[in-house]
Amino acid sequence: MIDSIINYSSIASLILGILFILIGSIGILRLPDVFSRIHASGMIDTAGTAFIILGMCLQSGISLITAKLIFIGIFIFFTSPITGHVTANLARKKGLKPITNNKGKTL
């Protein structure tokens, strides 16, 4: 009984993660410029990996693998904003202008 509940919730969590990664990939291809695409990749890094790691934790039960998975999640949680910020900062420093609607305003 409990086994099947855990199994089904893990499958649901994995499917949610796959959906978020799919939508994020569509966003990376579809959005207009670098700055907007970073938002889509940020979605893959947070919700996508978080749900997939949660699903894998439920599959492996209480074991050493779960502890390792949680550590992988924490490391991704701390490193993904750094990559996003570095990409955006470099694009700004190289003089790339984002496509925005506030015309005339200089920053």
Binding site: F20, I23, G24, I26, G27, R30, L31, P32, D33, F35, S36, I38, H39, A40, G42, M43, T46, A47, L64, A67, K68, F71, F77, F78, S80, P81, I82, G84, H85, A88, N89, A91, R92, P98, I99, T100, N101, N102, L107
Partner: protein, 158 residues
């Protein structure tokens, strides 16, 4: 010199090593103990064992802040997914002021903005952040400075 902090660091490293290893034979465990001791020795030699090593005093607030941040990340993930699927993007670039005193607080605030999908910190000058937002409502979320207040509250937990 061996003091209380270096002993705590040694046991933390050893615990992490045992967690990552998964093999507990005598040879491998003794190799782990030797490498942990070497790390502690290098830390003492490099003189980076200071008061900031284990800031236990703000862990309760950090836990509460993490839970709040996870909730925010989930909400903005769903919003970003909607924006991508229904093609309603309206990007904007603006500046906000941060109220944190220390560099650690500013880094936490900038990282939290970047970690929530839909907003990215592009540049930081002193206490003025330049933020790129995917739509106007994401920008309003940052401009309402709720997250700024939360990080300042976290910072003051000393």
């Amino acid at each position: 010199m061996i003091n209380f902090k270096s002993i705590i660091l040694f046991f933390l490293l050893l615990g992490f090593w045992l967690l990552m290893s998964g093999h507990y034979s005598i040879l491998i465990t003794s190799l782990g103990i030797i490498s942990c001791a070497l790390c502690v020795y290098l830390t003492i030699k490099a003189n980076i064992l200071d008061n900031e090593m284990l800031p236990l005093y703000f862990f309760p607030r950090l836990l509460q802040y993490t839970l709040w941040l996870i909730k925010e990340i989930l909400i903005s993930n769903i919003e970003t997914a909607k924006v991508i699927l229904f093609k309603t993007e309206d990007p904007e670039l603006f500046t906000v002021k941060s109220s944190q005193a220390s560099n650690e607080g500013k880094v936490t605030y900038a990282n939290s903005i970047t970690l929530t999908p839909g907003t990215v910190t592009t540049q930081i000058n002193e206490n003025v952040f330049e933020v790129h937002a995917l739509t106007k409502s994401f920008g309003d979320d940052v401009r309402s400075s709720q997250m700024d207040k939360m990080v300042s509250w976290l910072e003051k937990g000393k």
